[in-house]
């Protein structure tokens, strides 16, 4: 593996990890908004 290939591999790994991090944050926000919606509705969901 030459230098360019190594740099490309590092770049792609960094990009992949960043994408996982962004996906994780978005998933967390989905869960957070779901939980907070339930909290705010409280026992009045069926009203």
């Amino acid at each position: 593996m030459n230098g360019d290939d190594e740099a490309r591999a590092r770049f792609e790994r960094a990009r992949r990890m960043r994408n996982y991090a962004i996906a994780g944050v978005l998933l967390f926000l989905v869960v957070l908004f779901f939980i907070m919606t339930m909290v705010r509705l409280g026992g009045h969901v069926a009203d």
Partner: protein
């Protein structure tokens, strides 16, 4: 004619944008964030009333992310001076791991996100205070004061002092005397904390032309100011007891560690080793310990039911 292959384009992009998740995490200034979060927790726990645990955790998350956003925007704007200082030259932007534009976009996204989530899921008062805090840190401290006046960290310290008020507002939707007293304590604590650092980093600040007090007025004047502000912060630290929202444990902690804080400030005032500044280094650590101890005492008293404030109800 030069033919640019897809691989070359990709590598060029890699050179410009090789940031890892760790680089972005470093932009958040995690150590500063932890202290901000801790003081925010105290404001939230001291607040009277009832709040669901999920709402409380969301508020704390927004405070933490807002602090991180401020750090990222600060690192984006200050990349030029960070590159000149030994303490900051390994930050991601001066290292070239990402551009100032990347850091700005990251910080702005987090700031808008934290304020929006706070407004939607907690309340507007806490969101407005968080927005004010971030704006004050970025526009007033970073962009205006930091490079212009030795009072930069005195006035700019307000941004770092506000988290207890945000925590309180997250529960009550308003402000009151107790959180404002905590804000005053942190506000007065900030100058001796940062001036201790600037004493042993004075050459760094001079090289970067940041007008910190030792650079502009000299180390002798800085030592006097450190003693003055340390006495002020410890004296103001008694206010929670005399105003009735702290008990004997808090009083004892503020008296004991406050005395240590003042004694250490006096040692800095008498320092003769102006090269390595060992007493200033020690004061930096003692100042952190002081703030942690007095706020922890408030937390312990509240948890043990020793506080005169009504306990926070967590659902």
């Amino acid at each position: 004619m030069t033919v640019v292959t897809e691989k070359q384009q990709s590598l060029a992009a890699a050179d410009l944008n090789f940031a890892t998740v760790g680089d972005y995490f470093q932009l958040l200034k995690p150590r500063v964030m932890s202290l901000v979060l801790f003081t925010g927790v105290v404001g939230l726990v001291l607040a009277p009333g009832h709040v669901h645990i999920a709402t409380a955790l969301t508020a704390l998350l927004c405070i933490a992310v807002g602090a991180g956003a401020s750090g990222a925007l600060n690192m984006a704007y200050d990349a030029d001076i960070d590159a000149l200082m030994a303490r900051t030259k390994f930050r991601p932007v001066p290292q070239g791991h990402l551009t100032a534009g990347d850091a700005t976009a990251f910080g702005a996204t987090l700031a808008v996100g934290a304020i929006t989530v706070m407004a939607l899921l907690v309340n507007y008062a806490a969101a407005a205070l968080l927005a004010f805090t971030i704006a004050f840190y970025v526009f007033v401290y970073t962009m205006w004061l930091k490079r212009r006046t030795p009072q930069n960290i005195v006035i700019g310290g307000l941004a770092g002092a506000l988290p207890p008020a945000i925590g309180w507002a997250a529960v009550t939707g308003s402000l009151a005397v107790p959180p404002l007293v905590l804000v005053v304590i942190i506000f007065l604590w900030t100058p001796p904390h940062f001036w201790a650092l600037s004493l042993y980093r004075a050459e760094d600040y001079a090289r970067a032309r940041v007008p910190m007090l030792p650079v502009v007025s000299g180390k002798s004047e800085t030592r006097k100011q450190i003693v003055l502000y340390t006495v002020l912060v410890v004296a103001s630290g008694f206010a929670p007891f005399f105003l009735g929202f702290a008990g004997p444990l808090y009083l004892a902690v503020n008296a004991a560690i406050g005395l240590w804080f003042v004694v250490q400030a006096l040692r800095v005032a008498r320092e003769r080793n102006t090269q390595t500044e060992p007493q200033a280094r020690r004061l930096f650590g003692v100042s952190i310990l002081y703030l942690f101890a007095v706020f922890a005492a408030l937390l312990v008293e509240q948890a043990a039911g020793l506080s005169h404030l009504a306990p926070l109800g967590l659902g």
